[in-house]
Amino acid sequence: MKQALAAFFLGLLFALGLGIAGMTQPAKIIAFLDVTGDWDPSLLLVMASATLVYFLSYRWITRRRAPILAEKFALPAAKHIDARLLAGSMLFGIGWGLSGYCPGPALVALSGLAPNTVVFAVSMLAGMLLFKWNDAWLTARRLEKL
């Protein structure tokens, strides 16, 4: 319950950050990605300041034995760079470039109820479900072969 409450307010803060930063405006993202056009470098500063804050706090936070509301830190364990990582990132980049939306900003912008945003968000969920089924099917086939 406490974890959910913390997550709610941190999600809210995250959304305000995205909104103030300009990340929820696809036109601004596309202007950042359009380096040969009328380039808008704002997103570089968003990434730099967010990453710097996280970089400094990460060192301080992970010195603790555990988080405040959980028994342990749940950090990604995978280390190898594989085809899935690169292919997935490539597909994501194409979708990001086509629309100017990545997952967080799309969810925040949903409150504006613009039809284009709704179409994007529903399709994004469909893409995640498609991956889930496809992944389960591929895993099952791999196990059959063994």
């Binding site: 974890q3 913390a6 997550a7 941190l10 999600g11 809210l12 803060l13 995250f14 959304a15 305000l16 950050g17 909104g19 103030i20 930063a21 300009g22 929820t24 405006q25 696809p26 596309i30 056009g37 808008d40 704002s42 990434m47 300041s49 967010a50 804050v53 996280y54 992970t62 988080p67 959980a70 280390k79 899935r84 990582l85 690169l86 997935g88 990132s89 490539m90 994501f92 980049g93 979708g95 470039g97 086509l98 629309s99 939306y101 990545c102 997952p103 967080g104 969810l107 925040v108 613009a114 179409v119 968000a121 399709s123 994004m124 995640m128 479900l129 498609l130 991956f131 889930k132 992944d135």
Partner: protein, 139 residues
Amino acid sequence: MEHFTPISATLGGLLIGLAAAGLLLFNGRIAGISGILGGLLDLPRGDVSWRGAFIAGLIAGGLLLLWFYPQALALPPDYSFATYAIAGLLVGYGTRLGSGCTSGHGVCGIARLSPRSLAAVATFMVSALVTVFVVRHVL
């Protein structure tokens, strides 16, 4: 560079970094939006409550913005529904296959100096830059 907004960009980034750090400090979790949302779809074995609460917080934040800072939710560009649908499918499928997006690999992963995240960010930046170049200057 007439649309450059350095102050709001830096301030917004600061809040994003603080929120992500807060999720690590309190819940011990990486603030990767595609991972948090994708984990919700893994019902019932996922840990639903904090994930659902975080997503609800994002939506609530959107409502607050709509109220106090509506320019953040200005209408998206007038591309076709098909463009947004294809883009959404690619973003949804791609972020799950690649285990992350701009927040998890971008902010958290780079700050943790994770080689996987550095490779992911380099890959999606290049493919996004190429996509925008092709759409805007070639087609």
